[in-house]
Amino acid sequence: MKRYSVFAIAREAMRQHTGWDRAWAKATPKKKYDAIIVGAGGHGLATAYYLGKNHGIRNVAILEKGWLGGGNTGRNTTIIRSNYLQDPSAAIYEKARSLYETLSQDLNYNVMFSPRGVMMLAQTQHEIRGYQRTAHANSLQGVTTEFIGPHKVKELCPIINIDGPRYPVLGALWQSRGGTARHDAVAWGYARACSDMGMDIIQQCEVTGVRQANGKVVGVDTTQGSIDCDKLGIVVAGHTGVLADMAGFRLPVESLCLQALVSEPIKPCMDVVVMANTVHGYMSQSDKGEMVIGGGTDGFNNYTQRGSFHHIEETVRALVETFPMISRLKMLRQWGGIVDMTGDRSPIISKTPLGNCFVNCGWGTGGFKAIPGSGWAMADLMAKGEPGPLAAEFSMWRFREGKFIDESVAAGVAH
């Protein structure tokens, strides 16, 4: 792999950029791999990357039915934070966040991690108490957060209307090292690094069946033929139910459409990420200048990647109330992604009833921020066959035991 740097750019500029290689190699399936990952979203690619980097497993294929990063990874609003309430969540999200801090250097790909700070507004007494609780929990979890008052909120984000007549801002939970990153770059950076380790990223390759023998997985059927493997990782977000069905088990996962939208680009006016859960919406400004806006999921299960307009309306209303200045901005584009929601809104990183078949899903509305940590934990699980401490609590059997990891306690909107 040719390293990216300012010198490389300068060199290429002199020869009309003819020297740049493919970011990832074009691959056709081999007969057999040590491990196959289904789904080249962020989580699948990161799993493969850490399998290679941390565990030396490099005979790996990542199979993607469309184009890599084209699922939720390429559709999300890129909020990164780790101020979660429950211990297992805080652990994996903080692991991810800290990996994001150096991801550009690790991957030699600028993922534009921007720790500009994330604030979650408290607009009811109940929310104040909830976020104060999170701040206490975070202080014991090694996550740096702080509960700040309304004046600090205004100082950090002058465009907020802190004394709206309906839900004045009473304070906020502030994580100064939370922020955003460029979603495509995360997928592309991991893909390039995986390819560089000799892994095969095979796009336009849909898995259509999971083959098994003696209770263990032996391979998959795909639109590009059958491929054998020793281990299989299912990392397909909204399509987890479909893959689980192929593998012969069921998961407590529902697929829902989550929408987002952007405004036309304007000059910088917002230097932090703001989430307002009482009114149900959140906003940040992209490096391109667009206001990036999201809210809650549509109410019904579906696979269409396009939602109902009334959800957009609800979200925009909430944000016009919170940031009155956006009233005269225009919505440029709206879109949707299919998110995988578990019963407790926390992910599953788990062994499955099928031997050597592992699943990583349930990241729902908030898994972009988890990509490096999730890949790390999933690689660990796949390499060793048993979960390490990061994944231990996220077993799929927790629902049977009633051992939920419920984050809705802390936030109605969990992005």
Partner: protein, 1003 residues
């Protein structure tokens, strides 16, 4: 020079001059001008700067597809960035400034990027700024962000208002060109309810510019006649300035009406968002011309050929004195003819087709215009405006044959139907090789709820570029749509259009065909985002082969025009680079809105006080005039405390608690949920809903009940009263009322649909007032009426009667530990009853209290609060509420879940009281720490506080919390986080701090 012509424009009224300003300069235009045409008439060719390289930018189009002409419009409360000048109608006093430059439009420091362009290819930022790490945060990122964005951020509150409009129609026709008009007329004739919308202020679309003959009249006359016919039909509505913004599932269409953008001084809302439910949708949205990719095609003065024609014909504006035309099709010859007719020079038409054009070409030649076949533009000369072109062979590599001076270039690469609305909801496209365009695949339309087609594309939007075909297609689309919606009429004659025959175009995706890197890196695809042919080729080279990857890597089509001009050229370039056919490359996804729509319009009237409904109790008025400090609780606003003059909120709460405990307090409890459950199976139903038994509750009695989710978690609590044999009244928490009612209905409608149970949410039908405190009974006795003695109305019973002449239902229940009556009266009587209580209570020291006092009272008494002691992870057993779980029942919601291993784990945290050793208040949210760390390096914990208050009654801090083995550890001292890294010591105590024996409430 760009100037107003002596020939009058179709749309302008030269009798009505209008003054406006651009970058502080006062200019003049006419009524009917767009801001673009008015600027061009004043020779203001340069209107902005591009995003990445800050290249000088001029107008390229005349409509919604314009990528360059974006300005800051207005000031203060009516300021708006990124306003597209080609769709901004001129009005008196309009003031606009150009965007994205410093210090000025003419001299922009950022244009240095043009000279660095070769260091800034597609995706350069992914490859740079990686080392050293701190520089990204402190130098590179701030720099990138600073240069981002186009218009300025608005600062002030929006001074305008917006509204929504709902309507249902049989046939919605989008687009007021000849196809749309024909569709509406034909559908209207069947009696179907028809709505026809047009995004601009004028009818007729492109036909009225080119004036073909329709039904023996000019197109303009045909439009006038047709409009008159439509106006005469009562079942047809027509609207201009209304854009079809998005098509959604089940015939839901969003339209965006700009009511006052052209007349800001008029009154009323600025925009109106139409939410239309249509049985059938006809998209007659026309087509957009494509630019050609040649070096320097981004210079101000290079426009679409159709736009040059529009400006001349519609607005009487000549962009240049000498216009060179570059084309690959016959249509652009019309521009040459129009310019010639207007007295402007066309030094040459460069037709890239080897064989050149047909009849229109002959007409041009006949007028003496030089036509060159197989020729192309090698490059455009000029800086901030075009000064000339160099001509080459299309088939070659760009060797210059000739230089021609000119001040305008009109280009045409063919036409692309506007398929956005067709595609929003799943309509598929097909590649039309002959016309080099994606057009709707009529075999795969978007389908509605019934699985049948719900959208019909018509006219040019359906790929019919000839007038005759387009109008006939519109006519049959209108007919088919009406038919599908259930309406028919005897057919009448199809409107008959006539056309000059044209020769087919030849696709030209690169001009000249063999252009080298030098030319390709100066050939723009996306003018706003500065994406060039070489960028897309680089993306392909680097493996960004999917059209979505190429788009994201290069930002092609991601500008405010969403690729209306650039996408087809971009994907053709990609197809060429990958050597695969265009249809295999495919398009990116078309997403609403068609063009950007204001957030204000989306929010509608719902802002400020109207943001969400404010629910008011019958007594809210009193609270407002008596210094209530409100807190939002759901959509209600409840008094947190009533603050007397000179008091702090904290003082007020203290006073209210003490007064209630010693005299008597009054609480507006009207927000509490009151759900009536009635029917032969009501008892059985409630036994499933609550953890305890409700079916055996005696008429006249009350019982406290708990409700759990299927997962066993406690979700609501409240007192249930048995009203009569088959009627129960369930009280829920304030926040729970709607949720619990929906929950009940969910079970009744989806699971136990054969149970005979009816529910009604009576929350707002009654005002409910709690009279609380040792003197409560004295107050009621003074009011007179029913017997409220302990004997007649013991604790946990209710009775109907009158109090002080008011019909009342009185519940002897207590959430404070005091003698307490909760009295429900009809909502209409609530305020009068409240006033009557206050005057009767005056001599007993009665004072109203708010929610915080309520919380303190219940905490002193050790009562749990949903949302404090519970958080969706707590089961009743954790709260020592096992007594409220019936052991007799086979089942209740949550029972099976509570039997799961983790739920039955003896190591779950349990509820206890907590007291600091020094009497201080434990901070909200504090956790109890335990020794050591867990495997993830997090500090171990053994509990947390759930409610914590200063108790005025006890004069110290009190708290409840969940603690590991808590009830077995009474007296033990644990350490709680203070939040600043230090800890506070707390002793585990009984959770009941006040009146442990419960004597005070049961008197």
């Amino acid at each position: 020079m760009s100037t107003r012509l002596s020939t009058a424009g179709r749309l302008i009224d030269t009798a009505k001059p209008i003054k406006f300003s651009f970058n502080g300069k006062t200019l003049q235009g006419y009524a009917g001008d767009t801001l673009a045409s008015a600027l061009l008439a004043n020779d203001q060719l340069l209107v902005g700067r591009s995003f990445k390289y800050h290249r000088p930018r001029g107008v390229v189009a005349a409509g919604a597809e314009e990528p360059n002409g974006l300005v800051n419009l207005g000031s203060n409360g009516t300021f708006e960035p990124n306003q597209r000048i080609t769709t901004t109608e001129l009005f008196d006093g309009l003031s606009a400034t150009s965007q994205n430059h410093w210090p000025s439009l003419e001299f922009d420091v950022g244009s240095i990027n043009t000279h660095l362009a070769r260091f800034l290819p597609a995706g350069f930022y992914y490859k740079m700024f990686i080392h050293p790490r701190p520089l990204w945060k402190h130098v590179y990122e701030p720099f990138i962000r600073q240069s981002a964005g186009l218009g300025k951020a608005p600062k002030d509150r929006d001074a305008d208002t917006y509204e929504h409009f709902n309507c249902t129609v049989d046939v919605l026709v989008i687009g007021g060109g000849i196809a749309g008009l024909a569709a509406a007329a034909e559908a209207g004739r069947t009696g179907a309810r028809v709505l026809l919308i047009e995004q601009t202020a004028a009818w007729g679309g492109r036909a009225v510019v080119d004036q073909p003959t329709i039904d023996g009249q000019t197109a303009a006359d045909w439009v006038t006649t047709t409009l008159a016919g439509l106006a005469a039909m009562e079942n047809v509505d027509i609207r201009t300035r209304t854009m079809g913004a998005g098509v959604y599932d089940h015939g839901y269409v969003l339209a965006y009406e700009r009511l006052r953008d052209h007349a800001p001084k008029a009154s009323g809302p600025r925009h109106r968002l139409w939410r239309i439910r249509a049985r059938q949708i006809v998209t007659a949205t026309g087509a957009i011309e494509r630019p050609l990719s040649f070096a320097g095609n981004d210079l101000p003065g290079v426009l679409l050929a159709s736009a040059v024609r529009d400006y001349a014909v519609n607005f009487g504006v000549g962009i240049g004195d000498r216009t060179v035309i570059a084309t690959n099709n016959d249509d652009a010859y019309r521009t040459a003819l129009a310019l010639h007719d207007a007295g402007l020079q066309v030094p040459v038409i460069l037709d890239a087709r080897a064989k050149g054009g047909g009849e229109l070409a002959d007409q041009a030649r006949a007028k003496g215009i030089r036509v060159e076949n197989g020729k192309a533009i090698a490059s455009v000369k000029g800086g901030k405006r075009v000064t000339g072109v160099s001509v080459c062979l299309q088939a070659g590599q760009g060797a210059v044959l000739e230089e021609i001076s000119c001040d305008c270039v009109a280009m045409s690469g063919g036409w692309s139907p506007v398929v956005h609305l067709w595609s929003h909801c799943g309509g598929k496209l097909t590649w039309d090789e002959a016309q080099a365009m994606f057009r709707p695949n009529n075999d795969r339309p978007p389908t509605g709820a019934d699985g049948e087609a719900m959208v019909i594309a018509a006219g040019t939007a359906n790929g019919h570029l000839y007038t005759a075909e387009a109008i006939a297609d519109g006519w049959s689309a209108g007919r088919a749509a009406a038919h599908a919606a259930g309406f028919t009429a005897k057919p009448e004659a199809i409107p008959d259009g006539s056309d000059v025959p044209e020769l087919p175009l030849t696709p030209v995706w690169m001009m000249p065909q063999g252009a080298g890197y030098d030319l390709r890196s100066k050939s723009w695809l996306d003018f706003q985002n500065d994406v060039k042919v070489s960028d897309v080729q680089l993306a392909a080279q680097e493996g960004f082969e999917s059209v979505e990857h190429a788009k994201r890597y290069t930002t092609l089509g991601m500008a405010t025009d969403q690729g209306k001009l650039s996408n087809i050229n971009g994907l053709a370039t990609l197809s060429g680079a990958l050597n695969i056919p265009i249809p295999s490359v495919g398009t990116t996804t078309f997403r609403p809105p068609y063009t950007p729509i204001s957030m204000g319009a989306i929010a509608g009237v719902a802002r400020d006080d109207l943001f969400q409904p404010i629910r008011k109790t019958p007594i809210s008025g009193w609270h407002e005039s008596n210094r209530a400090d409100f807190e939002p609780v759901g959509q209600w606003r409840r008094p947190y405390a009533f603050v007397h003059k000179g008091e702090s909120v904290h003082d007020a709460v203290k006073r209210e608690v003490t007064n209630t405990r010693t005299n008597v307090g009054l609480l507006d409890a009207s927000t509490l949920g009151k759900i009536l459950v009635k029917g032969p199976d009501a008892g059985r139903f409630l036994d499933m809903l609550y953890t305890n038994m409700m079916s055996n509750l005696a008429v006249g009695k009350c019982r406290y009940g708990l409700m759990c989710s299927e997962n066993g978690f406690l979700m609501d609590d409240g007192v249930v009263a048995r009203i009569d044999d088959d009627t129960w009244l369930c009280h829920t928490t304030t926040g729970g009322a709607d949720r619990i009612h929906a929950w009940m209905e969910d079970w009744l409608q989806c699971e136990w649909w054969d149970w005979k149970v009816y529910t009604a949410n009576l929350t707002e039908q009654f005002a409910q007032i709690a009279v609380v405190g040792p003197k409560a009974r004295q107050v009621l006795e003074k009011m007179g009426g029913m017997d409220v003695s302990k004997e007649a109305l013991p604790f946990m019973q209710w009775a109907d009667g009158t109090i002080g002449g008011f019909d009342a239902r009185v519940f002897r229940i207590s959430f404070s530990g005091e003698l307490s009556y909760e009295i429900a009266v009809p909502a209409s009587q609530g305020r009068a009853f409240w006033d009557a209580l206050l005057s009767a209570g005056a001599e007993f020291g009665m004072m109203p209290y708010g929610t915080e006092c309520l919380h303190v009272l219940r905490a002193e008494k050790g009562f749990i609060m949903i949302g404090d002691e519970t958080d969706g992870t707590v089961i009743p057993q954790d709260l020592n509420l096992g007594w409220a779980i019936s052991k007799k029942k086979d089942d209740y919601l949550g029972k099976r879940a509570q039997e799961r291993s983790h739920m039955a784990d003896p190591n779950r945290w349990k509820l206890v009281g907590l007291e600091t050793l020094d009497g201080s208040v434990i901070p909200d949210g504090a956790y109890a720490v335990a020794e050591g760390m867990n495997p993830n390096g997090q500090r171990n914990t053994q509990g947390r506080v759930t409610s914590t208050y200063f108790s005025p009654t006890l004069g110290k801090g009190i708290a409840m919390g969940l603690v590991l083995h808590g009830p077995d550890r009474m007296g033990e001292v644990i350490e709680m986080t203070k939040g600043d890294g230090t800890y506070i010591k707390a002793r585990i105590v009984d959770q009941v701090f006040y009146d442990k024996a419960g004597e005070k409430q049961d008197v």
